[in-house]
């Protein structure tokens, strides 16, 4: 906890504001903080940058196309020509891994952004307005949260079918409920503060109060939550793809790649583990960075 290191004891709201000021510091401060970061956080950041580069420059890095059948031999062994062999219809496994970074990561990212825009907007609104709107939204979210996530998603996917847009919408909206909870809880601490009251008395409109007075002050916890939510969404989509219900072929995706090549495990071949390891490495990296970030911006979660 930061209480022990700081000479004065700051309330939760002040602490969040302090954290906000810190995180908006100059570039030099950012680099200085980065230099002091623990090894795990540096490793995590490095990995995340690497994944982003892979995703952006996939067509230039991958030796073959995403859905290109390059070999008449299915499940070919590792060789110089095909680094990780070929998959069940003779596509290059290595190339599909690289394209997988693009699809899996970007789809999870879009879904998380959707969940955040929706969840934070409604959460802050509900904190600012209060009254029966707040109550109604709260009960609605409670109902949604009482259903286990994966089961809820499975049911909705049966009903609406398994195309990509549905997948993103279903998971995005479901995860928005958690973001709603957090942003509403944090925003409630800010709404009661004097400067919000002052803004209200000035006659500022609701969008201004939400966007300019409250939102900047709840950014640090939301940013940390973004990382955790991203991991969660990423793992959910990977699990769904692994079950054959997520990202559909011919799009390359790590979850479905594990599923398609899983028979190889029986022959002691580690190829199916590679995409799974790629998923695991990214989530571990994001977790490391979030851990460090949370540590920096006051002890929101001491776990």
């Amino acid at each position: 906890m930061s209480d022990q290191t700081e000479p004065f004891s700051a309330g939760p709201a002040e602490e969040i504001m302090l954290a906000a000021r810190r995180s908006r510091g100059k570039f030099a401060t950012a680099m200085y903080e980065l230099g002091k970061a623990p090894l795990t956080a540096k490793f995590g950041l490095l990995m995340i940058v690497l994944y982003i580069l892979l995703a952006v420059f996939a067509p230039w890095i991958a030796p073959y196309g995403e859905a290109e059948v390059v070999s008449p031999k299915v499940y070919a062994a590792w060789s110089d020509e095909f680094v990780f062999g070929t998959d069940q219809i003779g596509r290059d496994f290595f190339s599909r891994m690289i394209y997988g970074a693009r699809n899996s990561v970007s789809i999870a990212f879009i879904t998380t952004v959707l969940a955040f825009v929706l969840g934070a907007a409604v959460g802050v609104l509900s904190a600012c307005v209060g009254g029966w709107i707040d109550q109604g939204l709260g009960r609605f979210v409670d109902t949604l949260m009482a259903i286990p996530g994966l089961i809820f998603t499975l049911v909705l996917l049966t009903i609406f079918g398994t195309d990509l847009i549905t997948l993103i919408l279903v998971i995005g909206i479901f995860d928005a409920t958690r973001v709603y909870r957090l942003s509403r809880a944090v925003a409630l601490n800010i709404v009661v503060m004097d400067f919000v009251e002052a803004a209200r008395l000035q006659g500022e409109r609701l969008p201004w109060i939400m966007g300019r007075e409250v939102l900047p002050n709840i950014l640090p916890p939301l940013a940390a939550e973004f990382g955790l939510r991203f991991c969660f969404v990423f793992l959910t989509i990977a699990a769904l793809s692994f079950l054959g219900l997520g990202i559909q072929p011919p799009l390359a995706d790590w979850g479905s790649m594990v599923r398609e090549s899983s028979t190889l495990i029986g022959y002691g071949d580690i190829t199916p583990l590679l995409p799974a390891a790629a998923i695991a490495l990214l989530t571990v990296s994001v977790n490391f960075v979030v851990d460090w970030f949370l540590h920096k911006t006051s002890g929101l979660r001491d776990v």
């Binding site: 286990p148 994966l150 089961i151 079950l243 998923i279 695991a280 001491d302």
Partner: protein
Amino acid sequence: MFELLPGNFARAVLGQSATPEIVENFNRRAGLDRPFFERFGVWLWGVVQGDFGISYSSLTASSTGDQDRTVASMILPRLENTLFLAAAVAIVAVPLSLGLGLLAALYRGSIFDRVVNAATLTSISFPEFFIGYILMLFFAVQLPWFYATSMIESTTTFWDHLERIGLPLICLVLVIVAHMMRMTRAAIINLLASPFIEMARLKGMPPSRVIWHHALPNAWAPIATVVGLNLAYLVVGVVVVEVVFAYPGIGRLMVDAVVSRDVPVVQGCAIIFAAVYVLLNLSADIIGIVTNPRLLHPR
């Protein structure tokens, strides 16, 4: 409730080549030609009586009612298998993670704490199927200690059953223990920071007495919450693990039904999952209230 559907279900289930007569027959037998509220009423009335309806997949086969497979008859044996696995996991995982969490909280900041923390953080970040396949590769393929897949027949005896679920058991225990241990640790640390524990320490009480007589009686509520939450998580985690190890449980049934868009089966499975989830959370709350009478009188 899930039958207010867009799209043509008969087409999705029967395929594009179905003639209009077959589609119409399917709709009539599945009751899709009747209004939504009537269908919902009939379905709900059936569920209270233990009748979850008839699987769409059997409706496609014949137009008479003699080969119908009821959802209940599909779910029941599977549910038994899943409960067996879940119970076995709970028996191993709960004491293990509570013990580890308690130790990590008591020796906070020590090497043990840090190692366990790093290990569980890593394990949480891994998708279940990654852990599953790693286990399968090493302990079933390279070292033939366990069965790679868990085939269960009606003739399988109890001990045989236990032996066959070895790998799914370990896989689920790894995932659950990671979550449960971290939450236990957080709950205990939270508790140890409260003023009455400090008071007991300042009085010069021996640490063991502080733990057993002051901390533990107040720890039951948070621990029950942790266990309840994680067993509820287990219900969901079991879906993926059952698919990895081809275990004939309700999770795999549900996934197969989602693929073939067999709505009554999905509904039935979802109802059971949701019921277990709610029941576990409810019992955690009850235990919390029973062990802490203060909660009976909310302010």
